[in-house]
Amino acid sequence: MTVAQRCSVGLLLWIWLSNALAATADHTQFDALQGSFTSAQEVTQACLSCHTEAAQQVMATRHWTWEYENPHDGEQLGKKTMLNTFCIADRSNEGFCQSCHVGYGWEDQQFDFTNEANVDCLACHNSGDYVKGWAGYPVEGTNLTTVAQAVGETTRASCGSCHFYGGGGDGVKHGDLDSSLVDPHRGLDVHMASDGLNFKCSTCHQSDDHNIAGSRIQGTAVDNQEAMLRGHHDENRNAATCQSCHGQSPHETGADAQRLNDHTRTLACQTCHIPAFARGGVPTKMEWDWSTAGQLDENGEPFEITDDNGHIIYMSKKGDFVLEENVVPEYVWWNGDTSFVTADDTINPNERVMVNTYHGEPGADDARIWPVKRSLGRQPYDTVHNTLLQPQIAIPGNDTSFWYNFDWDKALQAGTEYAEQPFSGEYDFVDTAMLWPITHMVAPSEDALDCASCHRDQGRLESIEGVWMPGRDRHVLLDRFGFGVAGLMLVGVFGHGAMRFFNRNRQKGH
């Protein structure tokens, strides 16, 4: 055995031991998990034979319902009905999209949300070798007994198996969430670094009754409170904020501590501490143009184009993409409230449609300056009703899905009909945009932004209003006046000095 092999065996042994020793229950010994399972639902029933309340808990969460009511305006949101600039819409595509649902069998509106056996415990509590496919069922060939015996706490990989792949691929949607976070180095994420603090997702996104803290739809943009003890239960507080651990005055050492703490009244922590996103080597999708989708090669077959790095930038199925790594965020005032354009809302097709809007008054006490990813889209809309349309994209084997027929008319007809959305039959493509909060990939403090990133002309916060920023802001008239007066003084003293110089003989002659 080489040294490297010995090291890896040692490491594996250590990981196995630490996992085995960390728990007081060894699931491989449980009677309920010995039997051969004929369906995934049987695994769930085995889990529930001990964890009696788990299914009901899960069924009360957004992970199950994909529904969310915006508390600010009652807007009905959630993945089930929301539109975005990536895959556009879930409805009529459930069988494909619901591979990321914590359940088994959601392929159309007939899905039974009340059947406990439909809850997929393994989606989150697996420790590898578990891949979900059609309608959330495990892919063919999954050994359910092995997977069931290997259950455990959630990991970065288990959460990431869905959350890293939103938008149809690794890192596509969020920009601050991709597979590089499975095994991140310290520079990529100071908390999750596998050679450092090794946080799991759930270290911050703590849950109570399977209800997991944190939401992008209704964000906690301001958490102006002291740190709270882990384990402390406070229903009114989001445990996933930076402040829930670091408090509101986190800078303790150095000559600038007080000054930096003063910044927390204006800035989200993320603004300085996430200097760029998509830093782990996985590019994120910044633009997605559906209008070019559907081109076929000379044989009538769909094709792909890749860039120099091997990343796909055109797909007949999806259209054109712009991918970027190490992206500098945009910055917006945000009070946590976000509203969304839904399929019911009328749009103005003459300008870029903001599919979501971040609310927050510049300079207000209840808002902070947040880093965001702005992703641009171009997607179908109804030219008569002026609404964003929901195509059927991804259901294999039927005559209407875009990916299998490359026919927008059919795809839009089928998708809107399924979603009960009025469709005139007339459509075109409209420019859209969407914001995503940037909150992961927190860099070590030494990589945080320096002052001059913002405190200068054309800095990162160039267009941010509501705050006076030395280095960026100055009183133009006052400066003109002040330097003007100083200039006049200079001219005056030089003139006076010159006259003294030319009259020096008269002085001496006195």
């Binding site: 003063d262 405190h455 400066d479 002040g482 330097f483 002085q507």
Partner: protein, 213 residues
């Protein structure tokens, strides 16, 4: 007639030159913070500006104590006496070789124009700079106590106004330092403390012998 005077004590000279250095440093770093020039990184400028400011505050505490305990504050009592003569001298007489209308004594180190200018610095520019500067520095802590009409933008504006006034003062002051009987005469006096007394030939401004060092 030439009379050497020990015009500036060691503390005065120390005070003057440290203050000069700190004010120039504050102007340079301050305008870097404001973005008027980019010869200095913003963070470095802020650090230097703050350190220089606290040093100047400290120096000021000592200087105020010194002025009060030695009675030297009396040199800044304003007077209009012979002020027109001073203005006429700088505007005309200085070119024709007229005698300086004012004679420096230990009791009256500064001519009437100097008195007014320095008093202006001490009563207008300095308080403006310090009050606005402290508000600026501690804005994060004091903003809640401030009236609603006072924003950081206005504090910054007042601070910059003070800086411009100080800059103008500095330009005039440095220039007038060269108008002695030789260009270096006043500057030398400020360095060594000794004034060569070339301006002291005005008969109606008698010397007070009892104040010789």
């Amino acid at each position: 007639m030439s009379q050497r005077l020990y015009l500036f004590t060691r503390f005065e000279r120390f005070w003057h030159w440290s203050q000069a250095g700190l004010i120039i440093c504050l102007l340079f770093t301050g305008f870097a913070i404001r973005g008027s020039h980019s010869l200095l990184d913003f963070h470095a400028a802020v650090r230097m500006h703050e350190i220089a400011a606290w040093l100047l505050v400290t120096l000021w505490v000592f200087a105020i104590f010194w002025h009060l305990t030695t009675g030297q504050w009396k040199h800044y009592i304003p007077t209009l006496d012979r002020i027109m003569a001073m203005i006429r001298y700088y505007a005309y007489g200085i070119f024709t070789g007229e005698a300086h209308p004012y004679r420096v004594t230990l009791e009256r180190k500064h001519n009437p124009l100097q008195r007014l200018a320095y008093l202006g610095v001490k009563l207008a520019i300095n308080p403006l700079v310090w009050v606005s500067g402290m508000l600026y520095l501690f804005w994060g802590s004091v903003r809640a106590l401030m009236p609603a009409w006072l924003s950081l933008e206005q504090v910054a504006g007042l601070h910059a106004l003070g800086a411009f006034m100080m800059l103008s003062f500095l330009i005039i002051h440095v220039y007038l330092a060269t108008v002695g009987h030789t260009p270096m005469a006043h500057i030398k006096a400020m360095i060594t403390g000794w004034d060569d007394g070339h301006d002291s030939h005005i008969p109606d401004q008698p010397l007070r012998e009892d104040h010789q060092p």
